[in-house]
């Protein structure tokens, strides 16, 4: 165990930013250390008020990059009104990035990707859960953590095919009759989303 830990320390010492790294992976997650320089500067300028908290102190610290690739991918999938998945260990997720579908497995290279309307699927063993996401961002970290932030997402079995067809027809008509650039852009977005929904349902 200690040999492993030593190896990890060595592998990490090359990394410049080890500010919020934990000394041993077997340790309990230490309270995230707030920005020391900020607290010091604060105490110098405003000695009579406690420094405010910063978001980092409310977060459970993330583990450092392990030396070997773990077997599972840890996924956080958040929406403004819910945390759909939080630190859930899965085999793979497929993300609708704006450059095309992107499959993320453990050990994926660190990536920042913009999302487009499309289907996101979460693979866990034989089980596959599919969501339709509207837009957002996905971050894949080198420690096999993936964060997916979407503005809106619904499980695909909750979509109504009839309404999708109707919406698609409506927006296609709007796109044809649009006169200003703004109207055209809005209609184009509507058509894009509905055709993505349509292909998600049929595909």
């Amino acid at each position: 165990m200690f040999r492993q830990a030593a190896a990890r320390i060595l592998s990490r010492s090359s990394r410049a930013a080890a500010a919020r790294a934990r000394p041993f992976s077997t340790d309990l997650p230490a309270a995230a250390s707030p920005d020391e320089t900020f607290v010091e500067a604060w105490k110098k300028v405003i000695p009579n008020i406690e420094p405010p908290k910063t978001p980092l102190s409310f977060m459970t610290p993330r583990p450092a990059t392990p030396s070997s690739i773990p077997s599972k991918l840890t996924v956080n999938f958040v929406l403004p009104y819910a945390s759909e998945l939080s630190t859930k260990e899965v085999d793979m997720v497929i993300i609708p990035a704006s450059t095309g579908q992107m499959g993320v497995l453990p050990g994926h290279v660190a990536t920042i990707a913009e999302l487009k309307p499309g289907v996101m699927s979460v693979h866990e063993g034989d089980k596959v859960v599919k969501y339709f996401v509207s837009s957002g961002f996905a971050f894949v970290h080198s420690n096999s953590y993936a964060d997916i932030i979407a503005v809106e997402a619904v499980p695909i079995d909750q979509l109504d095919p009839a309404l999708v067809q109707k919406g698609l027809a409506d927006f296609t008509q709007k796109l044809n009759s649009a006169s200003t650039d703004l109207e055209k852009a809005e209609a184009q977005i509507g058509v894009d989303v509905h055709s993505a929904l349509n292909s998600a349902l049929t595909g």
Partner: protein, 324 residues
Amino acid sequence: MAMAALRREGKRVSTLIASPNPVNSLRSSLAPSEEQVSFGVRSISTQIVRNRMKSVKNIQKITKAMKMVAASKLRAIQVRAENSRGLWQPFTALLGDTPSIDVKKNVIVTISSDKGLCGGINSTSVKMSRAIHKLNSGPDKEGKYVILGEKAKAQLIRDSKKDIEISITELQKNPLNYTQVSVMADDILKNVEFDALRIVYNKFQSVVSFLPTTATILSPEVVEKEAEAGGKLGDLDSYEIEGGETKSEVLQNLTEFQFSCVLFNAVLENATSEQGARMSAMDSSSRNAGDMLDRLTLTYNRTRQASITTELIEIISGASALEG
């Protein structure tokens, strides 16, 4: 002539006789309805105490009702705030937490409430904002305020009027939702030039406690510069960036999205803290009103008892005088 003078003198004497005790005259001036007290009855007035008791009771009713309202609102909004807590964490994991960053244009986004009677949450966020303004002030730096909510505006307008860039009120007319907050975030981003946005809000911890918090959001240019220079954001360079034409375009989208997400959570947390603080403030003022009412009731009963006792003594001593 002499008769007239004598009559006038007599009148003065008679008025002196008519009001034998000052308490009675005071009472008659305060409560004219109780005029028909017969001459010689020396009861002590309880009217003032009774009025006071009534008003305290009414105040207690109002504060109790406000507490109930705050409690029910708290329950609804607390769930939403807790659900939105996942939203900002990926951004902090990616871009880190940089309250100590030293940039030229600092914009402090102070979040407060529109209504008062909620303890110290608004003055706390104003105090924190002033302190952050002071911390980030320097000869070639500028600090501006963007204010959300009526109460912080009222406090900050007194001494930092020239630094207030935008103030937005009546945020909570409708229940807070992401669309509304992101439109507002867009407005702020369009109208304010910044290198770093510092959002100051009260994070909800429990009904009786909230934590003043500051979240920092950097502009895309600063993010790029910091990432190249290494330091706190040095990790960012190791990320592959997909989508968009250029890296800066993606970073711009990213920071704008970050701002709307962090602001959404901050507004919800602050609204939850507000309801919690209002609930505990109203609880304590109902309790205070209850204490006051108890004291007044005690005074009232004592006074009444004293007057009864006096009357009894008078009757008994009168009777015994007749007997003897």
